[in-house]
Amino acid sequence: MSDLSEKDIEIFIEAIGGYFKQITHEAASIGVAYLAQNAFPMNDFTGLIKVSADYTGALYFSAPSAMLRHLLTVMKETDQSEENLLDAVGEIANTISGNARKYFGENMVISTPEKIIGIPADLNRSEKNYAYVIIIKWKHYSASLVVDIKRIR
């Protein structure tokens, strides 16, 4: 089992940057990835994608409700119910992980998104390994991408 490299993490940074540029026509500011073991910067809503086959772990995209509402407005979506805010974090997590397969290949199998209100239970474990955290700033909002993925083959 091995940790992802800095080059590997760059793929996720490019994917999240590409998402905001494509959807909002406006670049998001993406911070340098850092390692954290706990104290992950989680927000109101989180989309979680589990990976399997040659990889294990998960990717989390977590955003405040106000940011998700603004994104839905940009997409001309008028239904900004809690259900659609959850749908949005799930779809963003799905898009980032799906786009990353261009680099990681089909042997990074990704799950359908799990959508969570509040802090995901898996990130609260005290024995948690280190995971990469990437902060995304768009307009005056801040979201986070946590990449807790290891290569096992």
């Binding site: 839905l72 239904d79 749908d87 799930g90 990704i110």
Partner: protein, 122 residues
């Protein structure tokens, strides 16, 4: 032209419907939407669309399996895969199974329209 939208994301189904409601486009009648492959097969049998936008990563039945079953039902149906899965092997597999085109998420309004117009021309 009759179209069915298949995606497990409500906001994607809603966005595709909204983009295609533009009166400047050739008339496209959205005959229904489905959130997974199983629903898609049922809806296909009752509405017989000529075109389908189809996600790949979905619960119950994924888009790759769904493509095969839809083409078995109607070999003439035109399927546009709309997915974030960006590896070459997945795209090739979907096309081998009978899909007519592949559009990567995230997509712009214009990219979706152009991809569907290409399918209409075929």
């Amino acid at each position: 032209m009759k179209l069915m939208i298949v995606d497990d994301s409500n906001i994607i189904r809603s966005r595709i419907s909204r983009i295609l409601s533009d009166p400047k486009l050739p008339p496209i009648e959205i005959v229904g939407t489905a959130a997974n492959g199983t629903e898609a097969i049922q809806l296909f049998k009752s509405t017989r669309p000529e075109m389908i936008t189809l996600d790949l990563t979905m619960p119950e039945m994924d888009g790759v399996e769904c493509t095969t079953l839809l083409v078995d039902e109607d070999p003439e149906v035109r399927i546009l895969i709309v997915s974030a899965l960006s590896d070459k092997a997945t795209a090739i597999q979907a096309l081998k199974n009978g899909a007519s085109g592949f559009l990567y998420k995230p997509f712009t309004d214009e990219e979706l329209v152009n991809a569907l117009l290409e399918l209409i021309k075929e």
